[in-house]
């Protein structure tokens, strides 16, 4: 049953995404999306990092604490890491972060990971668009957000 | 004012306090702690002692002092003095009750603490005498208290089995009783005799002795440089359990929490702090006057049994025993005082 007031909220709510993008692939991928003039949601604040493997779980927790509605980590495809194995290490670590966040009941859609190469501007735009749509349905993230 | 309240009518009295926030002990998560009572029927006074002490009603773990922001480049401060509803706390054990006047002293002396008093003035403490000690670590009588001490309480209730004896100790307490006046009955001579008997029996239970408190203070003074402290703190893990649960530990920290770094908006916040943490006394330079666990144990014990006595003529310990029972490694303040006394 649809709730009219909720529908309005979903329509006006603009999710805020913090996107940690590896400098070698995903950040370049997002640049490509930009220079290719692909229309996609402007809800993601990109933070370029040296490698998806360099993402500390603290970044993710801190982003949610500061009010992010979603956190995206994006790195090079397996086998393509500039540092050989950073993304493999990231995959393991972030799998555990994902499981932990789900375990305590943060909505599982709020944390996402993707492999986006420098050539995949379209994919990057899709990833962000999909994420934004899913977050719109969920509404604002209040579970881990600081209540100050 | 002294009255009798049957077990069934307790809920009636509580319901009559409907313009107040009522709290009472509740057993949840395998532990007794104060919880909001929504209806009189929920109240359960079969508790031992609560894990948290009653201090948190006047001295919450987090208190916002004021909000700050910048308007046209000028800081604007908005004080956030609390304005709570009148709050009545049931089931306060006499050790916790005695803790409050000691906290009052701290938040009164030299400078009056407006945040503490905004809450404290709205607080009515309904005590429940302990008919028997809850744990082998209860030692209220060894620090000048008693299982039915009235000090610090507004009302003292005594469990007489099927009914309570209820004594209004302060004007605030009497007023709270007046509000539920229909629930109370008069005290008969037999009731009076029974209360006295219950109290006498409660005092007769053996508690761990401390000996002469003046001698203890002197022994602590003499042992400041003793290696005993380091030895007794050998297994201390340096956590905050003993102080956070203590009904009289009042140390706090003040920090600025920034909400919006762009606008400079934020809050200045008081939080509980603890003399057992390493940074508690550490200077900005890194120099730390109490840099090891031994000196921190010494501080906790000295504060309660020497410094507070020197400043305010009474111990800052009411014998609730929480710090002993809850210590993860068995550090026992009575045993500590015994060893210091013997040294």
């Amino acid at each position: 049953m649809s709730n009219p007031s909720k529908t309005t909220e979903v329509q006006t709510f603009e999710p805020r995404i913090v996107a940690f993008l590896c400098k070698w692939c995903s950040s370049a991928g997002s640049d490509l999306a930009g220079v290719s003039r692909i229309q996609y949601s402007a809800n993601a604040t990109p933070i370029t990092i040296p490698c998806s493997g360099s993402v500390s779980p603290m970044y993710i927790l801190s982003a949610f604490n500061k009010g992010a509605d979603g956190v995206l980590i994006s790195g090079c495809h397996p086998g393509d890491c500039h540092y050989m194995e950073g993304n493999y290490l990231a995959r393991r670590k972030l799998y555990l972060v994902k499981e932990l966040l789900q375990f305590i009941g943060l909505e599982s859609e709020r944390f996402r990971m993707s492999w986006v190469s420098a050539a995949e501007g379209v994919k990057f735009a899709e990833v962000v668009d999909e994420f934004v749509e899913d977050l719109r349905v969920l509404g604002p993230q209040n579970r881990l957000k600081a209540e100050r | 004012m002294e009255k009798i309240l049957s077990q069934e009518k307790l809920r009636e009295w509580v319901d009559a306090l409907d313009d107040c926030e009522v709290y009472a002990p509740a057993f949840a998560d395998s532990v007794w702690n104060f919880a909001r009572v929504k209806a009189g029927a929920d109240i359960d006074l079969s508790h031992t002692n609560t894990i948290g002490s009653v201090k948190e009603f006047a001295f919450p773990q987090r208190e916002v002092f004021f909000c700050f922001e910048k308007k046209d480049g000028v800081p604007v401060l908005t004080p956030t003095l609390p304005d709570p509803k009148p709050t009545v706390v049931f089931g306060v054990r006499p050790c916790d009750g005695r803790g409050m006047p000691r906290n009052d002293t701290v938040f009164n002396k030299e400078f009056e603490d407006p945040y503490y008093w905004a809450r404290r003035n709205k607080l009515t403490l309904v005590g429940l005498a302990c008919n028997q000690p809850h744990s082998p670590n209860c030692f209220c009588q060894s620090v000048g208290g008693s299982p039915h001490a009235e000090e610090g309480l507004d009302i003292l209730m005594t469990d007489l089995g099927d009914r309570f004896h209820v004594k209004g100790v302060t004007a605030k307490g009497v007023e709270a009783m007046e509000r539920g006046r229909d629930a109370f009955d008069a005290v008969s001579d037999a009731d009076q005799a029974e209360v006295e008997k219950v109290h006498a029996t409660s005092r007769s239970h053996s508690q761990r002795p401390l000996g002469n408190l003046d001698a203890i203070a002197e022994a602590i003074r003499e042992s400041f440089d003793s290696p005993l402290w380091a030895d007794m703190a050998q297994h201390c893990i340096g956590c905050g359990i003993c102080t956070f649960l203590c009904p009289t530990c009042h140390c706090f920290d003040i920090n600025d929490e920034v909400i919006n770094p762009t606008t400079g908006e934020g809050e200045r916040v008081r939080t509980w702090d603890n003399c057992q943490f390493p940074d508690f006394t550490m200077h900005t330079s890194g120099h730390n006057p109490r840099g090891d666990l031994g000196s921190r144990l010494r501080q906790r014990v000295s504060h309660k049994f020497l410094y507070f006595v020197e400043n305010h003529k009474t111990q800052q310990c009411t014998g609730c025993g929480r710090c002993i029972t809850e210590c993860p490694v068995g550090i026992d303040i009575i045993a500590v005082l015994e060893r210091v006394g013997q040294s």
Partner: protein
């Protein structure tokens, strides 16, 4: 309603003087009260200064109580709050509450010689005493000021020392040899021994790094100063400034209330926790 002891007044930085440079630079800030809610203070008292968003620090008031229009604070760059002060510009606003603590018993010292011994930023707490003593010159006997810094460029209040020479004997020292340095070369306690001020009817007031204070007091005692004739100030980490937060105690005393000024006779009776 009672005063809110935790609510700072708003102060405005109207002057900044770079006293010394380096990793632990010292700057002196002149602060006015734009809302007209300034306060009086006594020699030796401190104030809790705020940088909103960073926190508070207890800083001794370095200006003379006789100066009513502004207050002065000499702040060494040490941590979060003091770094924020060092990044501040003229016109910036700060929070300020106080004054806190006891004072130097200047009135008890009438008619006596005063010997001031300062080192580094430790000059700041005793500076208002020097200023007041000089302003009430006829109340006191001989006034001598010993001050030492690591190098001549680390000397605080350099210009003021020149003025001071008119009414007091000034004995400056630097720790290591410097070409063209007219004053004493060596540590402050050594300079003190070298000049050997008389203890007769004198009061010695010292403040500086703990190690300096230790040797100054030893040397004062060697010169014949009694414990009651020696005054110093101590510091501990403080948060509330009003004797409640529980961390600055030395034995039973909260330094923020009972201190920071102690005679050596008093300090000796307290445990060494500072």
């Amino acid at each position: 309603m009672t005063d809110n002891i935790y609510l700072p007044k708003i102060g405005r930085i109207v002057g900044i003087n770079e006293e010394t440079l380096g990793a632990r630079a010292i700057k002196t800030f002149k602060v006015e009260f734009p809302n007209g809610d300034g306060f009086e203070h006594n020699c030796g008292q401190c104030a809790m200064l705020s940088m909103f968003g960073k926190g508070e620090s207890m800083i001794s008031i370095a200006s003379s109580p006789l100066v009513k229009e502004y207050k002065q604070f000499s702040i060494m760059k040490m941590g979060r709050v003091t770094s924020a002060f060092h990044a501040a510009k003229i016109g910036d606003f700060i929070g300020i509450r106080g004054p806190y603590g006891n004072q130097f018993p200047l009135d008890d010292w009438k008619g006596r010689d005063l010997v001031f011994i300062g080192g580094g930023v430790g000059l700041a707490p005793i500076w208002p005493v020097i200023q007041t003593a000089v302003a009430r010159r006829e109340d006191f006997g001989k006034i001598t000021v010993f001050y030492g810094a690591r190098t001549s460029s680390d000397i605080m209040y350099e210009a003021d020392f020149e003025k001071l020479k008119a009414s007091a004997e000034v004995q400056l020292s630097v720790d290591s040899p410097e070409e063209g340095w007219p004053g004493y070369t060596g540590f402050v306690p050594a300079n003190l021994m070298d000049k050997a001020p008389t203890p007769d009817n004198a009061i010695a007031i010292t403040c500086g790094p703990p190690i300096m204070i230790k040797f100054v007091i030893q040397n004062l005692q060697a010169l014949g100063f009694a414990d009651e004739q020696i005054y110093t100030t101590i510091e501990n980490k403080m948060k509330c400034g009003v004797g409640k937060c529980g961390r600055c105690n030395v034995g039973k005393d909260y330094v923020c209330v009972k201190g920071p000024v102690y005679s050596w006779a008093e300090l000796k009776s307290l445990p060494q926790e500072y």
